[in-house]
Symmetry: C2
Subunit: 506 residues, 2 copies
């Protein structure tokens, strides 16, 4: 019967992840992809609520760390982009030539974001004086204002964030939550007195990311992106990647140390205690709806979603059971709902007059952590029966039900963490042995799809290029956690404790 239910709803097996993922986001009613613009999905209430709960977790963390929420305009006038383009061109040339950026002249040709944005050039029938674009991210509109807001050391640190829609003119294949053209986006931007304070901010960001990913039960790899994959304008970029069930890595958070590079372009400076004027140091920290994509991908199974209790729009669904649902059972259900609800547990009663089996499938697909059944017999016993979405049934007494339910929710989170960790660790292998011969890197075993390879690596850019070309994979960057004992670098043979990962990235 169970398999019939699944087949009827058309959920592919999760072992076929590339079919399962796009199917489940629609079957579980998170989004509707039939909107007539590719890569712009309609958020359905269930998906939007889950995303809003992720946003709430983020807002709480921002609040605890004294960030303030702003809302900047979506449209950016083209002339503001010039400053950004010049900065990016300058840094890019500097990297290519390996010289100090301040010694370079600018290459006005360099396009920066220009090719990745949507342009607004007309209002009604009128051509606008200055073309505008839809923000792909908000450095440009924000820093223009920061230069007005920051005057003295007393204005620092300035810790801002916003949760907004951003846009990328995406030419690659789109995927719900993972690669879209209108992005539900979180971005924090901070301004500091000096490099050291900005570095402390980066450390705070790192902690916040781990707190949020822990709430979502998502293990992840933290690495410092290689220079060529650093955000334009950043001194360095650190990223959190989640390993998806098909072995590809999904970048779900990045935080960037900008030093004073943007400040110099946008003239963000302050007068210090001694009356001297200094350029500020800045950081940014970004996340997006990809967090929800990772949750769906990592935790779901053949029967549907499994949502971590922290972001499940419904944590407990109450199902009154009886051939004909009696008044008594309904009153009892309502009483339980009110108790749980008043204790902050998101609860819903499903009293539709359909077969219990169908209700089960429905809430299984939706990934609701706890199904709570109440039949006429349970009332006399002052109890109810709960089924956990991660497996297992329990009889709970009505007395102190909130505590019991909270214990179940916590246990579900822990099961998800353990399972996700196992999956994560199983996806990682040491790279096969290899030799460098005549400028080529030859692996002694085939590089397989669906594996994240771990390697000791301490080479230069040319070595990295060789590595990526030979493996067909990308280098995530240097991991925070080095090897305890030095190992031999896969290319140079030098002894190093630097751990890196090679993976197919989304």
């Amino acid at each position: 019967m169970k398999d019939q239910g699944k087949a009827k709803r058309g959920i592919p097996s999760k072992s076929e992840f590339n079919s399962w993922y796009p199917a489940i986001v629609e079957i579980a009613d998170l989004v509707d992809k039939r909107y007539p613009i590719k890569g712009m999905d309609v958020w359905k209430p269930y998906g939007w609520k889950a995303m809003s709960l992720i946003d709430s977790i983020t807002r709480l963390q921002m609040d605890l760390t004294d960030h303030n929420e702003y809302r900047f305009p979506l449209l950016v006038p083209e002339d503001l982009l010039e400053k950004e383009n010049r900065l990016v061109a300058k840094l890019k040339s500097a990297r290519d030539l390996d010289v100090d950026p301040s010694e370079l002249r600018l290459d006005e040709e360099d396009a920066g974001f220009k090719n990745e944005v949507y342009w607004v050039k007309h209002g009604g029938e009128n051509k606008l004086d200055i073309p505008m674009f839809l923000r792909p991210t908000s450095e440009t509109p924000m820093y223009n204002m920061f230069s007005l807001w920051v005057r003295s050391h007393a204005d620092l640190p300035l810790k801002t964030y916003q949760i907004v829609n951003t846009f990328r003119y995406e030419t690659k294949q789109t995927r719900s939550f993972i690669r879209v053209r209108e992005i539900h986006f979180f971005e924090a931007h901070t301004v500091h007195k000096n490099e050291e304070n900005a570095t402390l901010q980066i450390k705070e960001d790192a902690q916040i990311v781990q707190k949020i990913l822990n709430e979502l039960c998502l293990p992840n790899i933290i690495s410092k992106r290689p220079l060529w994959d650093t955000f334009p304008g950043a001194w360095y970029t650190t990223a959190a990647d989640v390993i998806m069930p098909n072995g590809r890595t999904l970048q779900v958070a990045t935080y960037h140390h900008y030093r004073d590079q943007w400040a110099k372009s946008f003239d963000i400076s302050y007068e210090d205690e001694n009356g001297n004027n200094n350029f500020c140091h800045q950081t940014t920290f970004g996340m997006s709806e990809r967090l929800l994509g990772a949750v769906v991908a990592v935790h779901g199974d053949d029967s549907g979603l499994i949502l971590p209790p922290s972001i499940s729009p419904i944590q407990v669904v109450i199902m009154p059971i009886a051939t004909h649902i009696s008044e008594e059972v309904l009153i009892y259900s309502q009483k339980i709902k009110e108790e749980l609800h008043s204790n902050g547990i998101r609860t819903k009663i499903d009293n539709r007059d359909i077969r219990p089996g169908n209700k089960h499938y429905h809430w299984e697909i939706k990934g609701v952590p706890i199904r709570l059944e109440i039949g006429p017999k349970d009332i006399s016993k002052n109890q109810c029966i709960v089924s956990l979405r991660t497996g297992g049934k329990e009889i709970l007494l009505l007395e102190d039900l909130t505590t019991s339910i909270n214990t179940c929710l916590e246990s579900i989170s822990n099961v998800l963490r353990v399972r996700a960790n196992t999956l994560h660790n199983n996806m990682i292998s040491m790279a096969p042995k290899s030799i460098v011969n005549d400028g080529k890197l030859i692996f002694q075993e085939e590089i397989k799809d669906g594996i994240v390879y771990e390697i000791p690596f301490e080479g230069n850019d040319a070595d990295a290029e060789l590595l990526e070309k030979s493996s067909g994979l990308s280098l995530l960057g240097e991991c925070e956690q080095p090897y305890e004992e030095p190992m031999s670098c896969i290319i140079t043979g030098k002894m190093t404790t630097k751990k890196q990962y090679l993976a197919r990235m989304y």
Copy 2:
């Protein structure tokens, strides 16, 4: 000292409302208008938080009435607009000619929204195949999906809403919150089996609007807009207008009965219990950041904002008082903050080392309802001193402080309601006596600026035009509350109970 403070901060007198309003929104740090696109302000944290609190009030009401929150894409492909344009053209012609719209052929020339939207025709360097526009409101993108979602009577009612950024290519003078180009917008869209059910929805909307406006302490006029001011595509439009201190009315909410007009254009139909296919009936309900504009305008005074407690980002600001703030006073302040905070009262401690007078001015400008002072003497007496932003000081005992503070907050709301009602009623006058002579309407006293005129009116469109031309004002529409005794219509002289208002509208 107080006047010095005000002068220093440059707040114009509120009697000069047209100078006061644009000044106070920046002085109170709600928005920054220096963003380089006119009519697109940056929301500062204090303004954004107040707006978010208004959104929370709205979300709660939506939740209580079983509406679900969606999020639709911002961009709309041009070809979807065709359906809307045809509908609008059809209805417009029908009104002009006074015939049944279904008998009309379509006028393809009619532009509808076309002249009021921002156009996206380029992605990067590429010209898009189909131009897209930024939503001015979401009928078009939503109804396209509704036609896929609604199949059977079991899918109805469909009650949706979203809170999003919308855009108008505004050529009139812009004003923060009141007339902007990127609008923080709320829109509910519902689909029903029949006209009657849609009418019940309109009644529910009317109740929701009054609940929200009551939380914001805003008296308002409800009227059914005249036909020429009805939303394109609507059967009828009801609006809530707030009278601003300069006597102009600000439309802050509208709800529209669409009958089955849009459903026929967008093919939104359902199979009923008997297997027959019927077109659906629809309603919409919209509000925007204008709600915040009305709050600022109606409640503020010469010293700054006065925020209703329901949306004040800070409800109680604690000010430890001492020449040098002692450890003891700080601990005491912290204890009070924690008690209030844990009882859901938004509380902040201001322990900056500046003169108490400056703190007072600061929080007065921000419109924080309650300032709570604690000096060394208060500790021994187990008390604190509160000043209400609406006037008055009280000594409160620490015992049961939460209850006392909640009583103060309630009393502040009530004072705001009473004051706003008085202002509202004072702004309304019966229109001066008039005579119709040789096709002209001559008022026996001059029509004055800053007054909303009440009139008995039951004329036709031509009469209304005469009325508007002669007075230089606009007709808001027919009020819900008729006269108890029939009066003589200002134009036709016929006896009528229909009450209408003439005003300068924003």
